[in-house]
Each structure stands twice: as C-alpha cells, then as structure tokens.
Amino acid sequence: MAALPDLYERMRFIRRFEETLLDLFSQGKLVGTTHTYIGQEANGVGVIDHLDPEVDVVFSNHRCHGHYLEFTGDAYGLLCEVMGRAPGTCGGKGGSQHLCKGNFYSNGILGSIVPVATGIALAEKQKGTGAVSTVFLGDGALGQGVVYESLNMASLWRLPVLFVVENNHYAQSTPIELELAGSIPARAEAFGICTAELDTTDVEEIHAAAGRAVSHVRETSEPFFLVLHTYRFSPHSKGDDTRDPAEIEERRTRDPLLVAGARLDSAEREAIDARVEERLAEVVAEAEAAPEATPEAAVL
C-alpha cells in the first residue's frame, strides 16, 4: 500500500507523460489520436494501487494511459507504442487505445470492454485465482447497453468485477446533462450491486474508498461499482475543446496534484518532480531512438 509521496510521484509521472504526448503531437512526432488522463490521475492511481499486476486484471478504455502506467509501470513500451516504434507494447499495432501487457488490456470501442471484463472475472473465478477484474469506464460509456447486461450477469453469477466509473462530466463534447438521465450509482444498485460514490480529487480519499471496494470484491467474490466524479483539464483528444474556459480554470483549483502536493513538504515535492522529469526525459530519448515498427511485422 503506497504512501502519499509515492502516490504523488505516480500521478505526477502520468501528468507529465500525457503533457509530453501532447507536445510530441504538436511537433508532429505522433500521429493518430490520443486521449490524455490529465486531471483524472488520482482515480487510476488510487484504485490500481490496490491491485496486484501479477494476479489481478485491468481492462481499460480509450483513455487508458494513466491506468496502463500505474498498472504496468511501462512508460517506454507505451510511448513507443503511441509513436509507432517497434518496441511498443503491441509492436505499434494497437496504438494509444489498444494496449495489452500482462494482465492489462484496453480497447477503443466504448462499453464493449465491460462484458469482456465480466468474462475475465468469470474465468478467474472458475480457475480460483482470487483475481479481481477491474474495468474503467466513463460517464459517456454508460450509454452503452452492454454495461447493464454485464451488471446483470456480474450480479447474478457473483463475479469478482470492480466497475470503476470515472465521471468527468463530458463525453467528448457532450455535457453529461445531455447524455445521461437519472443517477449513476442507482443504475448498478438496480442490479443488486453494492456501490460507492466519491466527488473528490484527493488521491488519499480515493485510495481509501478504492481499498474498501477492492477488498469487498476480493473477499466476497461479488461485483462492486465505484463511481468517481472527476474532471479532465485537457481536451477530449488532441484538439478542440468547446467547454467554458472558466469552468476548466475553476476545476484546476482542485487539481489532484495540487491537493496531494500541498501535503508534501516542498523540498520533497521538488525532488519528486525532478525525478519524474529525469525519468521521463530518459524514456522520451530512448523512444525517439527506437526503430520504427516495420511492415514485415504487420504481415500475417
């Protein structure tokens, strides 16, 4: 179980990694698309710290870099993957949204990952591994019916799935009021699933609540539905942002890095920040030096 400096460092690394990606994009060193985790770092770090990458499984979505970095620690593989370099996690085939390493998976079709994570939980339960299958989804993905099909099955079959909803109040350009009716936790409760709901950017609070959620799943082999209200500071993907800048600014006052950083003494924080820069610079340099993915690899 990580202590605050550690949690801060990981959040800081994700933040800077994502900012670096956006830079590389502007420089034309990346193509395709990317969805950054900037602003939501406390969720991924707070939840995944409770998981064991050797045993547990994570299925993530289009906004998966934060989850990936926290679960696998593999920044080099991810950066190479996004840059289309041969040492990328998936040899450049998957790119930003389609990652796989060890017990980590992601896919870019919203909602469709949820039944797969449910099936993973079923398999792990049958095998008796004790694994928790965690799936991350956004408020927008709650529009997809397979989510409810999965909640039903997870509840019926008492599967060890942790559903984590990161409600950042937008689906691409669409504010939540235009895409979601009723209550998020009630949607899981209706299927007889235990829920918890947090509206905070405080990684320690999230960490504590997530700890309870993961324990519940692990101990009872029952699903749990954790709703984390959050916000992203960066645009949906790389480009245009139609949100009110004042709204974003207001949210920035509750930046999870500020909240956690304020609890560290400034020397420690600066040392961490410096370490992060150093590590990141190394990763970027290595990735830039790595060979491009070669067409031969794409041939079956």
């Binding site: 998936c90 085939k93 998957g94 039944p115 797969v116 039903n152």
Partner: protein, 343 residues
C-alpha cells in the same frame, strides 16, 4: 444400416460435447436455456449440465455481451463454447466479433489468443419466419482472423466440433436446424449411398462426391452445411433423369477458405456452380466464384454460376418460404443451363 449411420446429428454433436467435457477441464459452455432437463432449444446440450453443473451456465438474454463474456474467458485460458439459440442473433454480437474477438490476437501483437467456439444453428425451411430462419454466416466472411466452420450431416461432426474447441482461433461453428434431426451419414467404403466420396483437407475437411468414380463429369457443385442434402438430391436426379454427372464438394471450412478440393474438381469438370441457402448477394458463393475464376481461369469452360436464396426476407408461410429458398430444382436448372454441359 449400420449403427453409425443411425445416429442423428444432434446426438453426434451432443456426444462430442460430452467427450470434450470429460477430457478437458477448461471447457465451459454458456448460452440461453442450456440447462437440463431442457438442454437447449435444439437439445444439443442435453445431459451436460446434469453431468457438469459448474461448467454449464445458463445466461440472461444478452447476446451482445455473451460474445464479450466468452471472449474474456478465452483470453484467460478457458475454452468457452457459446451457444447462440438462433443464428439470426449473431447480428447482436457483431461489434464484439468484429472489434474484439477477431482483433485481440493480432492487435495485441500475438500476446494473446481467443480460443472460443460459437455454436449456432442457421437455416430455414421450418416456417420460423424472417428473424429465425436466416443463414447469416455470410456476415462473418468479411471478418479477418476468425474461422467459420459449417457442419454438414456427411462430415464427422464430432471431430469438427472437437477441433473447433481445440483451435486457438475463434471458431464460428455453424449448425443447421434441419440437420439436427437427420441421421449422420459418414462415408463407408468410400461411399455415401451411391456416391463415391473423398475427404481432404486439414481439421475441417471437404468432402468430394462423385456419381461415376471421379471419371469425367460435367460440373462441380460446391456447397456446405444444410444445403448439402439439397445438392445431393439434385445431382442424384441429374444422374437418374438426365444422365449428367456432377461432382459435389461439401466444404466444412468457409473461412479461411481453402479451395484446393474445389480447384481439383474443377480441373476435372471445367465448370463450377456454388450452392448455398443464404441470400445471393455477397454470399459464400461470391467469394468462391471470385477466387475460382481467378485461380482456375484456364480450367473453366464457362462462368461460375451461383444458386442461393433470393435477396429478400424469408417469409413465414411455407409456400412463400419454399419459393424463396434454393431448391433441388434450382440446382438442377442451373446445371442444365450451363452451356454445353456434358451429358
């Protein structure tokens, strides 16, 4: 009739499932209404849940997710067999199939496999109407990295199913509603009934039938699944009524297509007719015709002709359904209409 030929196809499939469950701990089956005593809408899973209660799961009616659940299980080392009650419902799973099941292995750079089997019955002629009678395997042919196997009553159904479960690829195992009740008809002494038969190919072999011991024949008819008995009736009638001999190739593997047995037969006959129960456009016959026209250009004396259902819905009324689905006479007519057919 020997004991073998008397088993109905549903029984052969059921026994293969029992065998799989007995020999492999990792095999699980899920689907709607699969529990005993009901044993599935077409009774293929009978006895399985009584014998293996922990490995047979009856599910909610959630086809879209079921494909995903099976995929998740396969990713994690299980061998799920998903029964989809009617083949028409695979349309509900297309996203999971196209954007998940078919992609995981290759897009994750071969770090994973997705060894799942989807078993589902296709086909009409039972008056079930537009949403319960289709032959939708055609929708899967354009999906790279999956395997489509179409069982017929003359194939070793049990072996096909066992291979499908042991395959590392996702396999769509297409059954046929009328086939279930028919006797399994395996070659004996190289014959099925009056026709000589050769079996060739890998795990999902093709059968080639001849009415004159693979001597000169007028055309090859390539078919699969539930259309095979229709074609066999047609070629028998062509022999008896018109003294025209055709070879018949019954594929069991539709994707990836292995056309060697067809090409070999066409090298002998010089003409090809494709016959399938699904609707014509963009059917299995289209891909076969495109490939064979290219690969056997110099062997073909005439263009490949296709027999299929009319492009439209499959009506409920039997009179209308009969007129819509390809019949014995349709196969006969197309063969007879081949210019310069050898007789």
């Amino acid at each position: 009739m020997s004991a073998t030929t008397q088993r109905r196809c549903v029984q052969v499939l059921n026994e293969a499932l029992h065998e799989l469950f007995a020999t492999r701990e990792d095999v699980v089956l899920l689907g709607e209404d699969v529990l005993d005593p009901y044993g599935g809408a077409f009774k293929v899973t009978q006895g399985l849940s009584d014998a293996y209660p922990d490995r047979v799961l009856t599910t909610p009616i959630s086809e879209a997710s079921l494909f995903g659940v099976a995929a998740g299980m396969a990713l994690r080392g299980r061998r799920p067999i998903l029964e989809i009650m009617f083949g028409d419902f695979i349309a509900l799973g297309m996203d999971q199939i196209v954007n998940g099941i078919a992609k995981f292995r290759e897009m994750y750079d071969d770090q994973v496999t997705v060894p799942l089997v989807v078993r589902t019955p296709m086909g009409g002629r039972r008056g079930y109407g537009p949403t319960h009678s289709q032959s939708l395997e055609k929708l899967l042919l354009g999906v790279p990295n999956v395997c489509v196997v179409a069982a017929s009553e003359c194939h070793d159904l049990g072996a096909l199913l066992v291979h499908a479960v042991e395959d590392e690829r996702p396999v769509f195992f297409i059954e046929n509603k009328l086939m279930y009740g028919r006797p399994s008809r395996r070659p004996e002494d190289g014959h099925i009934g009056e026709l000589a038969v050769r079996e060739a190919g890998g795990e999902y072999p093709a059968l080639t039938f001849s009415g004159n011991a693979f001597d000169d024949a007028s055309a090859t008819v390539v078919t699969y699944g539930g259309m095979l008995p229709v074609v066999l009736d047609a070629v028998t009638e062509l022999i008896l009524e018109h003294e025209i001999f055709c070879e018949v190739v019954a594929l069991s593997q539709l994707l990836p297509l292995d056309l060697d047995p067809v090409l070999e037969s066409v090298a002998r006959t010089g003409a090809l007719v494709t016959a399938e129960e699904g609707t014509l456009t963009a059917g299995v016959g289209a891909e076969i015709a495109a490939r064979v026209s290219e690969l056997a250009w110099s062997d073909l004396r005439r263009p490949v002709r296709r027999v299929a259902a009319r492009d439209g819905i499959i009506p409920s009324a039997r009179t209308l359904e009969d007129a819509m689905l390809p019949r014995v006479e349709d196969v006969i007519d197309v063969v007879l209409a081949l210019e310069g057919v050898r007789s």
